[in-house]
């Protein structure tokens, strides 16, 4: 029972807003020592954990090319492009992205889309561009909201698409665990089929929420428009809007 103190360290650490790295490091040491590991084994566990989990950081390999393209106006061009499709509102665009992400993941293409390679350079600026065309200048709160929704569309699409694909890690984990532990012969195909109803629910629920986003943005921006008006010099023309905001974000850090 005492090993659960490690979990408690995490919960208290996050709840009291300590630095996440310190919280996780401390929790690992506490759980490891209480769980009967020697200090040396705890160190080895940290080393081995880092080595085995490098794949989650491999997206860093895309940062130089994305950074280079952003220097040359990739995000601005993404906004320009979306401005040509008058019917594509922020909500409709994000629902479309959600659908594409789900289908891609269901075909096993989980890493074709992603936060570093498609959300930051393309999906987020396009969603913002669509909102700027419709509502004019965005408030910082609206901009944050739209970017968060772009990240959310990627996550929901990925999670509730990938299990429809047979060879994905989670399906193989289920068959691997159950077949070795209980001596059964579950087929990945049957598990994948049972992922379809939830995938449909995910598209309907999250897609509907994205479509509602347009109306929410309109209401919020109309309310904000009355008080703050257009007196934000860095954000009055739409192609420079993002860059202005990025410098503002940097200044506050």
């Amino acid at each position: 029972m005492i090993v659960l103190l490690g979990v408690l360290v995490v919960v208290i650490g996050f709840a009291t807003k300590r630095h996440p790295l310190l919280v996780v490091g401390a929790a690992g040491i506490v759980a490891g020592l209480l769980g009967g590991l020697s200090p040396r084994e705890v160190l080895a566990a940290f080393g081995k954990g880092f080595a085995d989990s490098r794949s989650v950081t491999i997206f860093a390999i895309t940062l130089p090319v994305i950074g280079l393209l952003e220097r040359y106006g990739l995000q601005e061009q993404a906004r320009n492009l979306i401005a040509r499709f008058a019917k594509l509102t922020t909500g409709r665009f994000l629902a479309l992205y959600l659908g594409m992400r789900q289908i891609g993941a269901a075909l096993g293409l989980t890493d074709v889309f992603g936060h570093a390679q498609t959300v930051r350079p393309l999906a987020a600026p396009m969603a913002e561009g669509a909102a700027e065309r419709r509502h004019g200048t965005l408030t910082d709160a609206a901009r944050e909201r739209i970017r968060s929704c772009a990240a959310a569309a990627d996550n929901v699409g990925r999670f509730f698409g990938e299990d429809v694909f047979l060879a994905v890690g989670s399906i193989l984990l289920i068959t691997g665990f159950v077949n070795t532990t209980y001596g059964t012969h579950l087929e990945p195909l049957h598990l994948a089929l049972w992922a379809i109803p939830t995938a449909v629910c995910a598209f309907v629920v999250h897609g509907w929420r994205m479509l509602r986003l347009d109306r929410q943005l309109e209401r919020e921006l109309r309310a904000a428009g009355g008080s703050t008006g257009g007196d934000r010099p860095t954000e009055t023309t739409h192609p420079t809007g993002h860059a202005g905001n990025a410098t503002a974000a940097e200044a506050t850090e």
Partner: protein, 322 residues
């Protein structure tokens, strides 16, 4: 054969080069700590190859990881002023290059796609071209390298230091959030070996009343959800909750349809992944990448969807799995 390790070395090497740039960046008040942090990650990425194949001890890497944690946790890392283009220059570049700018950006997903569906099946002399089991990572890595070449040719950018310093600015602005996913994966592994899962399984079995199918379904799904919240990963929660409730109670005692019970249980766990900061690579890293002020922005955007889908999984399981 193209191996995943090569791309880990490439990532490690670029972290080291970026650390060199950080060290000489006088606009960063904390340049030494920043350079040490990223330099250690770079060395760690390369050293890890020998840890994975068992030829080097893991303990020195563990020490390095704890030093990284202290560097970032004690606020010794920072960021310099990015030397980049002004908004006006970007607008001018966008007007000049137009939609050609999308070509390198789309090269990454297209190459990843080609690798995943095409190259993965090709063999030379009986050996696969891409290391088996790592095709998607390799696709992303190869896609990024090809895209960089395409972009530099198209933009007539001669110096490799320009993309490297652009990437470095992004790294500096994301900061410690980049290391958090790997730390959490490590924590999950430590929780596993120290028996946290066994304890959670015991507690779950203790609170479960006998002979109530619907309560058992709710306990299994909710247990997957909550345990995923703690671990940040449904994969860690699945064996624990399935051994405690899913298999013995739902499948054996109530004769549930095993594929339906297990697939929906896993998806209930995914609802937990959507709302926990412990799943940092999905929830915290994107907030840093998108330069959000609120690092919980993506989680807040996902919370209602996760709640409704958890309910959907419970209802679908209760109605159709028995």
């Amino acid at each position: 054969m193209i191996k995943a390790e090569w791309f880990y070395w490439l990532v490690g090497l670029s972290f080291l080069v970026m650390a060199g740039q950080m060290f000489t960046d006088r606009s960063n008040a904390k340049r030494r700590g920043t350079a040490a942090f990223w330099g250690l990650i770079g060395v760690g990425f390369i050293y890890s190859s020998w840890v994975v194949n068992g030829r080097a001890p893991a303990e020195p890497l563990g020490v390095a990881v704890l030093v990284m944690v202290l560097l970032a946790g004690c606020g010794l890392t920072g960021r310099g002023t990015p030397r980049t283009t002004t908004p006006a220059e970007r607008t001018a570049h966008a007007a000049r290059f137009g939609s050609r700018l999308f070509v390198p950006a789309l090269t990454i997903p297209v190459v990843a796609l080609v690798c995943a569906v095409g190259v993965a099946r090709l063999r030379i002399g009986g050996a696969p071209i891409l290391q088996e089991g790592s095709e998607t990572i390799l696709g992303l890595g190869i896609g990024a390298v090809v895209a960089l070449v395409v972009a530099m040719v198209m933009l007539r950018e001669k110096s490799l230091s320009v993309p490297v310093s652009s990437g470095r600015s992004m790294l500096e602005s994301m900061g410690w959030a980049m290391l958090l996913p790997q730390m959490l994966a490590t924590l999950g592994a430590i929780f596993q070996v120290s028996g946290v899962g066994t304890q959670v399984g015991k507690i779950t079995t203790a609170v479960l009343p006998d002979n109530s199918l619907y309560i058992a379904v709710v306990v299994y799904c909710l247990g997957m959800f909550l345990f995923t919240l703690i671990m940040g990963n449904a994969f860690a929660a699945f064996p624990v909750m399935t051994a405690a409730v899913g298999w013995p109670v739902l499948v054996e005692h109530f004769h549930g349809n095993a594929p339906a019970v297990l697939a929906l249980g896993m998806l209930a766990g995914f609802c937990g992944t959507l709302v926990t900061p412990m799943a940092a690579n999905f929830n915290i890293v994107p907030a840093a990448l998108l330069e959000l002020k609120d690092q919980y922005g993506p989680i807040k955007a996902q919370l209602p969807t996760a709640g409704v889908l958890l309910g959907c999984n419970i209802v679908i399981m209760a109605l159709f799995a028995f």
